[in-house]
């Protein structure tokens, strides 16, 4: 079982270095949003995470970083990155948050990349179907602070300015019985589920390149416990056992 683990701090990395079958995913400084710890390219020897929506100016800078990097691979959201990494010897994993929702589309994307992260907005049966019908191994998001929304706006700063309160870049909020964690950075604001996403039941699925443990906003010990199959934090399967509603086939 190969696990892809988002890096917390150096102490965390020291503690898990002896664990087997682990690849480290480092949120790349300036090209990532929503994390506790970011790493400059020079400190990354595993996978780099690039989850921002990028402009051409961003890509010009990233192009130069990637050409001089020693990354094993990248996990990325913006398809524009494909253009600058096509000739680089990197493992390419497409993230496409919320958009990699079916096996047909994922198979098309797999023509361009080594693997795709299956969206964690699906239920168990849908994810299982995808793993059984994709032509390459996929990445499954099995644990982490589940991102619900990414805004380019500085929403917490605006809120504080309007109410003349002290600016706090982290906030907890609630709608009905649903909790949120909100983190603002220069490049925007991320909304997360209050509880951690727990998709550890997906560990029994096959055709998987990596099971992704996306550690963020969690203590070192809690993270290490989870890697040892002990979950000591409040967690939720999100929609793993649910059907969401919408209207695709009309009967109006």
């Amino acid at each position: 079982m190969k696990r892809l683990v988002t890096a917390l701090n150096q102490e965390f990395l020291n503690k898990i270095k002896d664990l087997e079958d682990i690849e480290i995913l480092y949120p790349l400084e300036s090209f990532c949003i929503g994390y506790d710890y970011y790493y400059p390219a020079t400190k990354i020897d595993g996978y780099a995470l690039i989850n921002r929506i990028l402009t051409d100016d961003d890509l010009d800078i990233l192009d130069s970083i990637l050409k001089n990097s020693h990354f094993k691979g990248i996990v990325f959201d913006d398809l524009g990155i494909l253009e600058i990494v096509k000739d680089l010897p990197l493992k390419k994993i497409l993230l496409l948050d919320h958009l990699a929702l079916n096996s047909i589309s994922i198979n098309y994307y797999l023509d361009y990349v080594d693997s795709v992260v299956v969206a964690s907005d699906l239920n168990y049966e849908e994810i299982k179907y995808i793993t059984e019908n994709t032509k390459k191994e996929v990445v499954l998001y099995v644990f982490g602070l589940k991102k619900l929304m990414y805004s380019r706006r500085n929403l917490l700063t605006n809120y504080a300015l309007y109410h003349q309160e002290e600016i706090n870049k982290k906030l907890e909020a609630k709608i009905l019985d649903k909790d949120f964690r909100i983190i603002e950075e220069d490049m925007g604001t991320s909304f997360f589920m209050g509880k951690y996403y727990n998709g550890l039941e997906l560990l029994n699925l096959n055709n998987v390149l990596y099971y992704w443990y996306d550690f963020n906003q969690i203590s070192l010990q809690e993270a290490i416990d989870i890697l040892n199959n002990k979950v000591n934090v409040a967690s939720s399967p999100f929609l793993l056992h649910d059907q969401v509603s919408f209207k695709v086939r009309g009967d109006k």
Binding site: I53, L54, T55, D56, D57, L59, D78, L79, G80, I81, L82, E83, H98, L99, L101, N102, S103, I104, S105, Y108, D121, L122, E126, Y129, I130, L148, M149, Y150, S151, R152, R153, L155, T157, N158, Y159, L161, Y162, E165, L171, A173, K174, I175, L176, K178, F180, I182, M193, F238, L239, D242, Q243, V244, S245, F246, K247, V248, R249, G250, D251, K252
Partner: protein
Amino acid sequence: MIELLAPAGDMEKLKIDCLYGADAIYFGGQNYSLRANAKNFTNEEIKEATSYAHKLGKKVYVTVNIVFHDSDFEGLEQYLKFLEEAKVDGIIASDIAVIKMVKVLNLALNLCLSTQASILNSRNVKFWQKLGVTRVVLAREASRENIKRIKEETGIEIETFIHGAMCTSFSGKCVLSNYVTKRDSNRGGCAQICRWDFEVLGKPNLTITPKDLNMIPFIQEEINIGVNSFKVEGRMRSIYYIATVILAYRQIIDKIKDKTLTTGEEKYYLNVLNRCANRESTPQFYDKLPGVDEQYFLGREELSNQDFLGLVLEYDKKQKMVKIEQRNYFQVGDEVQFFGPNMETFNYKINKIYNEFGEEITVARHPQEIIYLPLPKNIKPYSMMRLKIFDKKDFL
């Protein structure tokens, strides 16, 4: 060719779009469209709408823009073939599977990439161009510099939103609705959680609602940069909203082409547009990062109005009498305005009102009742009567 692209939630709105100056109209069918709760178009209506629009020289784009789950593909191939047969000009899609299917089936449908793809750079555009996409709707977060570079480096047709509601999130990057209500935002069920209040312990509620978008100050600049299509949001809005917005942008674009648009007129149109939406609007991301002034706080701060008084059904030239379907309360003595396609908006004071039996009344109080007003000027069906709030001459 600069295209003014208008939304249609049903046939009546499509006709209003066409009459009020849209060059092209977009709408969804009963399936696969992100406004699942709009009335939308049946297949028969898609044929009728396309034929109607084409006769007037307008283009038609159909949204096939949900993000598919595996169980949603049933019937898609037949639907895309139907759209080709119906001779729609193109589809707006976000899922690579839809775009590939159009190409594999070799269908004569132009492919427009939806704003759900959140595009801010030219390399991303090139990826989709290679798949056959000929037009992109950029992310609403695109700045002037982003748009300029994308145009320069790809030459692709660019469609940008110029008016209407904004997502707080990058479009396509939000599942707040799925989390709070189990309604899938990326398949048309968005519950608009970004319009709700978030409770914060010991602090004021957090609100994250953006004001609407309006690009009036930058239309000229966007034309110069090479934007091809100006898109208005609002498939679920009223005919009054659509008529007002499309007419305003039609006149703005035409006046820009003629180099006759004045700052006073810009100000007038802005007032009219904000009033009809009941909301404030700003250019948002084009020229700067939106800040505290580009959002709503303390709830929606929307004041509902009843400005839309009636829809013109016909005009009797002999009697000099206009037949109106009432939409909101009005009475003798009210100062109103008539506006519509291919006419100058004019003011009018109501002196007499007749009901459908020819009886003189003083008040029109029943929605959709038929009313007759003496009116000296000829006026065409689908023109509208509204309360006189702004007078253009005050802005000149």
